[in-house]
């Protein structure tokens, strides 16, 4: 009896513990065979760069030279010497840089806590390591970080493609049949290394956006460059040339970043108060933070003044005013919220949580970045075409954010918890005005760009955007009109990106 019982417990335990799946960190992108190499990619129009031949640039070494031969020997000698890292980076390392950016976003998306005296101190780029750490990677911050990263990657890869086909140095396995490749070999000219371009440009930008991560980012970049050699794709010379392009292009983007208005986005109290007063005088309402202690200034009141990528006049994308507090239209929206919170279904709860992407996560721009990366893998896009997807999407998403933030602080519209008495929610109310919904605007812009590039999947993207938008109503933190107007606004803003994309020479 005793032995049977022990056996029984033992078996129960074994069955129970062995049924569990192991949850691994990170995301795995299986290497693909690229659907095309876009040989004319060097003729595509970059987004920021005006002259792709502006950098002085050495020619590739002659394949019959001794120098070149010794570099080929190095490639052969190091073949697959870091299988784990090679597998990590895969054959489209730009996907991994986006994953790194998303993770840094999640790591730094921490709203500052009040200090012992109940005062909120802001993160400072000049002293990033003292609490609160710089950056506070909130949605506007991340929309901009993704946009810079992706557009710089894209422009730099256009330059790389230009020189690849200008010099037309054959792929290494074609030059020497002893060269083995870890991934499906391609005919893409090896000089300059597109992987090194991506490594250098990503390293340069991410270290500016996340200054406390310099060491980690540098390590990743070095690792990638070793892997490009060890997977039989590039020589040292290819990599040096790629790095040069990446660094030069990054400089131009960092110059833009230093003067795009972001350093003034987190406006001081006087500016924030004057925006609220202006709205109060114009409309008779104003938003205020209800946390305790109260946060005196919302997130990035002047993000609406940051320089957009594709929209010439951001104010022209500002929607008309929301319904007056207490109007019939307002009451309908408020009653909808009360009804939803009183009878919240499990499905509504799940949708609210699914798209929440709140503090501590990669934010809505990160969510869409992830989905775009999945699409790129699904359609087997080469690095250049991958970069183009992300450049237009992330650029449009930032523009949508700028337009949305301009609207938010222009109208300074109250949140449901401000306007409805004793209203409780399942999501935390964000620290900025309600109208229009950031989730709706970001998502709609992303869905519009993705639908244009992957028309077969349009319904999926549109449904996601609609769901992300409604999730804020279910969460109790937005009125319905914040969301529906945000969807239209995001779509309109994204049109500006699509107009540019339609004329860039890529099909």
């Amino acid at each position: 009896m005793k032995n049977n019982l022990i056996l029984f417990f033992g078996l129960l335990f074994l069955v129970f513990t062995s049924c569990e799946e192991q949850i691994e960190p990170g995301v795995t992108y299986e290497p693909v065979t690229f659907e095309s190499l876009d040989q004319n990619g060097g003729t595509w129009k970059p987004i920021l760069l005006t002259n792709i031949e502006q950098f002085s640039f050495p020619e590739p070494k002659n394949p019959s030279s001794t120098e070149f031969k010794s570099e080929i020997e190095e490639v052969i000698k190091n073949f697959n010497n870091e299988p784990k890292a090679i597998n990590y980076w895969g054959n489209n390392p730009l996907l991994k840089w986006n994953e790194i950016a998303r993770e840094l976003g999640a790591k730094y998306n921490l709203p500052p806590a009040p200090n012992d005296k109940g005062i909120y101190v802001l993160p400072s780029p000049s002293n990033p390591g003292s609490y609160p750490f710089f950056p506070f990677a909130h949605p506007p911050y991340m929309s901009r970080a993704f946009a810079y990263l992706s557009i710089a990657q894209y422009d730099a890869l256009v330059v790389a493609w230009h020189y690849k086909y200008k010099y037309n140095q054959a792929a290494l396995h074609k030059l020497d049949n002893r060269v083995k490749t870890v991934f499906e070999p391609t005919d893409l000219p090896s000089y300059p290394s597109d992987g090194a371009v991506v490594a250098a440009v990503s390293e340069a930008l991410l270290t500016v956006f996340f200054p406390l991560e310099v060491e980690m980012i540098k390590q990743k970049s070095e690792e990638l460059k070793r892997c490009l050699i060890a997977s039989g794709i590039n020589t040292k010379d290819d990599i040096a040339a790629g790095e040069l392009i990446g660094k030069e292009v990054a400089k131009i983007f960092l110059q833009r970043a230093a003067s795009d208005g972001m350093n003034r986005a987190q406006a001081p109290l006087v500016v924030s108060d004057s925006l609220a007063n202006l709205a109060y005088n114009r409309f008779g309402w104003q938003w205020q933070n209800l946390e305790s202690p109260k946060r005196p200034v919302g997130i990035a009141p002047l993000f609406g003044n940051v320089k957009p990528w594709f929209v010439a006049n951001i104010v022209s994308t500002r929607p008309s005013a929301p319904p007056a507090i207490g109007s019939a239209e307002f009451n309908t929206a408020a009653n909808e919220l009360k009804n939803i919170q009183a009878n919240l279904t499990k499905d509504q709860r799940k949708i609210a949580n699914w798209w929440s992407d709140g503090p501590g996560t990669y934010t809505p721009p990160g969510h869409w970045n992830r989905r775009a990366c999945d699409q790129i893998v699904k359609y087997k896009y080469n690095p250049l075409r991958s970069a183009r997807v992300l450049a237009y999407m992330n650029g449009a998403v930032q523009d949508a954010g700028i337009s949305c933030w301009d609207t938010k602080y222009y109208y300074n519209y109250p949140r449901p918890i401000n306007a409805i008495k004793n209203f409780k929610t399942i999501l935390g109310t964000p620290n900025f005005p309600a109208y229009t919904s950031g989730h709706s605007t970001f998502s709609s812009a992303a869905a519009t760009v993705l639908s244009s590039i992957f028309p077969d999947d349009t319904k999926v993207f549109v449904d996601w955007a609609e769901e992300a938008s409604s999730s804020r109503v279910y969460g109790g933190i937005h009125f319905r009109f914040d969301c529906t107007v945000g969807i239209t606004q995001g779509r309109n803003v994204a049109q500006h990106a699509l107009v540019v994309a339609s004329k860039d020479g890529a099909k």
Binding site: F9, K346, W354, G428
Partner: protein
């Protein structure tokens, strides 16, 4: 009789949690004996450990968790007892704009087996092993801390319980050590950060070691029991709550509590228990003070004379 038992069980499984543990440890039933119990508990905290830092949060104010939990114990044989419990939990905060939650949590079923027993006139010594299994019975939001009513994971606990009494139990000691294997929980998002990125809707909830030591006395012909104890739960692995963020089920949740209990027997077959719990040390949990009130009634389904 069997039918009546099944009905009683079904009714009672509509209530279990950590308060049940002490009761389960205390109870021993002979073959055919049944104990039904109802536990009502409330715990409150206005400070919690964010990692190891004790802090308050004005957007929560005072956090309250209320539990009502029916329980049944059945003597299958003189040495094997079966237990079941199902708590219904409500949570809410005194400040801020976030809603609490409420509902049935996890059903807890367990077996306790008397491995060794030595009973003399004045002294006794008993050793038990127990195992209990918990399973969430409703689709509550586990990733909604601190308001979630549970962690949404299955658990399996193995424990050894030792009881020793002297001077006809005027002094007794009870202690246990155990290991709780905690499974995974499904969450309503597809990405989370836990010292790294996880692209998954599944969170691994840390398993934990538990132990407790209790000293007590049974007075006035055993009609009053007094007891004081120390409980500890230590998670194996898990991450910390990040600065000024909410916790999540992957967190390392450790705590050490002091407990006090008075159990009185108005009738030989029925008891009322008043309990107190104070969490004086912890990590990623609230610094909670809790009270609980339990009613128990024990009866035999056999036509035997002796009860208890």
């Amino acid at each position: 009789m069997m039918k009546k038992l099944v009905y009683t069980f079904l009714f009672l499984t509509s209530l279990i949690n950590s308060y049940g543990q002490t009761l389960v440890d205390d109870l021993t039933m002979k073959s055919g004996e049944v104990c039904i119990a109802l536990n009502i508990a409330e715990e409150k905290w206005d400070e919690y450990w964010e990692a190891t830092q004790l802090i308050g949060n004005q957007n929560i104010g005072t956090f309250t968790k209320q539990t009502i939990s029916p329980m049944i114990g059945i003597g299958i044989t003189n040495k094997i007892n079966f237990f079941a419990e199902l708590p219904n939990i409500s949570t809410f905060a005194s400040a801020g704009q976030i809603r609490g939650d409420n509902g049935f949590q996890d059903i807890n079923v367990g077996l306790k087996y008397k491995v060794f027993s030595l009973n003399k006139r004045q002294e006794n010594f008993n050793l038990f092993v127990s195992s209990n299994y918990t399973l969430p019975v409703t689709n509550y939001a586990a990733d909604y801390l601190p308001f979630s009513i549970g962690l949404g994971a299955q658990t399996l606990t193995m424990r050894a319980i030792l009881m020793a009494g002297a001077f006809n139990e005027k002094i007794f000691l009870r202690g246990s050590v155990g290991y709780t294997h905690v499974g995974t929980t499904e969450i309503e998002r597809s990405y989370y950060y836990a010292d790294g990125s996880y692209y998954s809707t599944i969170m691994d909830v840390p398993s934990r070691y538990v132990y407790d030591v209790n000293i007590g006395s049974r007075l006035f012909n055993k009609s009053i029991h007094l007891e004081a104890g120390l409980n500890n739960q230590t998670s194996i692995g898990g991450d910390d709550i990040r600065r000024h963020l909410a916790g999540q089920p992957t967190n390392k949740m450790d705590m050490t509590n002091l407990t006090g209990r008075v159990r009185i027997f108005p009738l030989p077959s029925s008891s009322i228990i008043l309990g107190y719990t104070y969490t004086f040390n912890g990590r990623n949990v609230g610094k909670a003070v809790g009270y609980n009130l339990t009613f128990t009634h024990q009866f035999s389904t056999k036509k035997s004379k002796s009860i208890i």
